[in-house]
């Protein structure tokens, strides 16, 4: 791995063997000519095996807030599973914080913090005990652990919950406890697997603030999500993956610029939009002009610059504009164009 990489993934592949054909998702394989890259003499997967990761290559830099974006079953959780030493890959290598996840799993675990998709705190213990025992698993003495737990709970708004049982906490509080727990042993890399699933909007925004704060401290954060807005707002760089393959990798802004079709301009008129559509089609730079009832839509490669011309053309057709919508290119549109399916 290079000096600046927190995580290096090379030709990572994970195939789940079919077991009786149950609960398996079939992913189409190129018929008959399946030649896995860099898997040296591996048996050919049967038609019912699930390829969760398909020769994934990825570099994540130190201090980066990195997002893995993809729909359910894309391979996001498998990637996190391999990087956190919980899933043994079929082939390929991955190093995290300088150690190989296969051969140096113990030293990887020492340097990572993991926030799971479902809060999995020890329900037999209360909050402070959960944190003290977690710290003890990392060799931290109880006095130091208690102090750190108190500090972190203070920061994350859990200081009044230290002696509370898990079943008395809300979903958002439990998720914050998972973050506190993951930070107890000062990890270099923090993994979060769909951290905001099931949270109400307020708790979600609260969690975003916390994650921004952790990122500002220079911590490497790797997060999976299938929420576009979340990835867009939080991450320095994003990898869009689907069916175990890397489809795109860049900053959210650069990815959005690659989204096809440009900005969507939408006018709501005071009557049928068909006549207006004919006028608007004459404007240079607008494509896919469509009228649907009173709504007139067109795509522009230059953002909202053509909006005044569009309004003028619509008014020339004798309609008045009641409402205007402007939808910039989004990750969603990019994702649909890359995968042919929607997120979520």
């Amino acid at each position: 791995m290079t000096e600046t990489n927190a995580i290096t993934i090379r030709a990572l592949r994970k195939v789940y063997k079919a077991t009786g054909g149950k609960k398996l998702r079939h992913l189409s394989l190129p018929g008959g000519s399946f030649m896995p890259g860099g898997t040296g003499g591996m048996p050919r997967p049967s038609a019912h095996d699930v390829i969760a990761l398909d020769s994934l290559d990825l570099d994540i830099r130190q201090g980066e807030f990195f997002g893995l974006l993809g729909p359910n079953g894309a391979g996001k959780s498998t990637t996190i599973g391999v990087l956190t030493t919980r899933i043994v890959p079929t082939s390929g290598t991955a190093t995290v914080a300088g150690s190989d996840v296969g051969t140096q799993a113990v030293s990887v675990r020492q340097r990572i913090g993991v926030v799971p998709q479902q809060p999995n705190a020890d329900r037999s213990l209360n909050v402070i005990e959960n944190l003290q025992f977690h710290a003890a698993y990392f060799g931290i003495p109880v006095a130091a652990a208690t102090k750190r737990a108190q500090e972190l709970c203070e920061t994350l708004g859990l200081s009044d919950k230290l002696n509370v049982k898990l079943n008395e906490m809300s979903g958002g509080q439990q998720q914050r406890l998972m973050i506190v727990r993951a930070l107890m042993h000062e990890p270099d890399v923090l993994f979060l697997d769909e951290p905001t699933v099931g949270l109400d909007p307020q708790a979600r925004l609260g969690l975003w603030e916390i994650l921004r704060g952790l990122h500002a401290q220079g911590r490497t954060i790797v997060m999976t999500t299938h929420y576009m807005d979340e990835a867009d707002r939080l991450c320095d760089r994003l990898a869009i993956i689907d069916r175990g393959k890397l489809l795109a990798l860049d900053t959210p802004r650069a990815l959005k610029d690659k989204a096809p079709g440009g900005t969507l301009l939408e006018l709501v008129l005071d009557g049928d939009a068909l006549g207006a559509a004919e006028k608007v089609k004459a404007i240079d730079g607008l494509t896919r002009v469509e009228a649907s009832g009173t709504v007139l839509q067109a795509y522009s490669g230059t953002g909202g610059r053509l909006l005044p011309a569009m309004i003028e053309a619509a008014e020339q057709s004798g309609r008045r504009v009641k409402d205007i919508h402007l939808l910039p290119p989004s990750l969603e549109t990019l994702f649909v164009s890359l995968t042919g399916r929607k997120l979520g």
Partner: protein
């Protein structure tokens, strides 16, 4: 924003982590002690009330039956609690709560987490046996031939029996689907108890030779007979050497299979 330099980490002592894992299990066990004792010892204690107290009172049982019964009931309490202490949390943790995941991310080899669980099972087996012994003696009254002269042997059989059955619990708990847990009790544990020479001595099966050799595949037989050899040595029992040899072999087998099954579940 500048990236944090990776902090050098001192290697964590495996022994310390093992003790932390054990402390966690003991704290939880202490809190659940009444439930644990009821779950694991109520059935053998009721058996003692009926067969060790009521039936002798009614004259259906010979005086000496309590001699055969006490070691067997201890064996059941020990093995039952050892299996359950490991199997039930495993089924829950891997099945739905996922609580063990935090421990699986501790910076120690994954097998250490499994080994700790088995050791915790042995300790809980000890507790169950220690709880049943005085109660059984109290309910049944004086027991002919009972001696505590070989306490070392009693501890050895408890240790080996606990290890064998905790390991079996590890295997069952990681190999069985959560919805089949009821089946585990009726198909595996119930026959094991009834044909485990707990309620009758192995020598007594000479009356039915086929059974006498068929039951030898049942690991409980060796714990029951070992307890007899240690607690009531004057009464008929299997040779102690055979018992210890068999228990060591069974422990090695179940430990190996249990560990393998655990690792398979832990490293999905």
């Amino acid at each position: 924003m500048t990236a944090r330099a990776m902090t050098p980490k001192a290697r964590v002592s495996r022994a310390n982590v093992f003790m932390a894992l054990l402390r966690r299990d003991m704290r939880v066990a202490r809190r659940e002690l009444p439930f644990f004792l009821v779950r694991t010892t109520l059935q053998p204690l009721m058996f003692i009330v009926v067969f060790g107290y009521l039936l002798p009172k009614m004259g259906f049982m010979k005086e000496g039956y309590s001699t055969a019964l006490l070691p067997g009931v201890l064996a059941i309490s020990l093995t039952f609690s050892a299996i359950q202490s490991v199997a039930l949390p495993m089924v829950q943790d891997f099945g739905w709560t996922r609580e063990i995941e935090d421990r699986l991310l501790a910076p120690v080899p994954t097998s250490l987490v499994a080994a700790e669980k088995i050791v915790a099972g042995v300790l809980q087996g000890f507790v169950a046996a220690l709880f049943v012994l005085p109660l059984a003696r109290l309910i049944m009254g004086p027991i002919p031939n009972l001696t505590f002269a070989h306490i070392g042997t009693v501890l050895l059989i408890t240790l080996l029996g606990g290890a064998a059955f905790s390991s079996l619990g590890m295997w069952l708990g990681t190999a069985i689907q959560p919805q089949q847990i009821g089946l585990m009790f009726s198909v595996i544990l119930a026959p094991m108890i009834f044909f485990g020479c707990a309620y009758y001595p192995w020598q007594g099966l000479s009356a039915v030779p086929v059974m006498k050799y068929a039951v030898l595949i049942n690991p409980l037989v060796y714990v029951s007979e070992g307890m007899r050899a240690a607690l009531t040595p004057a009464a008929p029992h299997m040779p102690l050497g055979a018992v210890i040899g068999a228990l060591i072999a069974i422990t090695v087998i179940f430990w190996t299979v249990g560990m393998k099954s655990f690792m398979k579940r832990a490293l999905g």
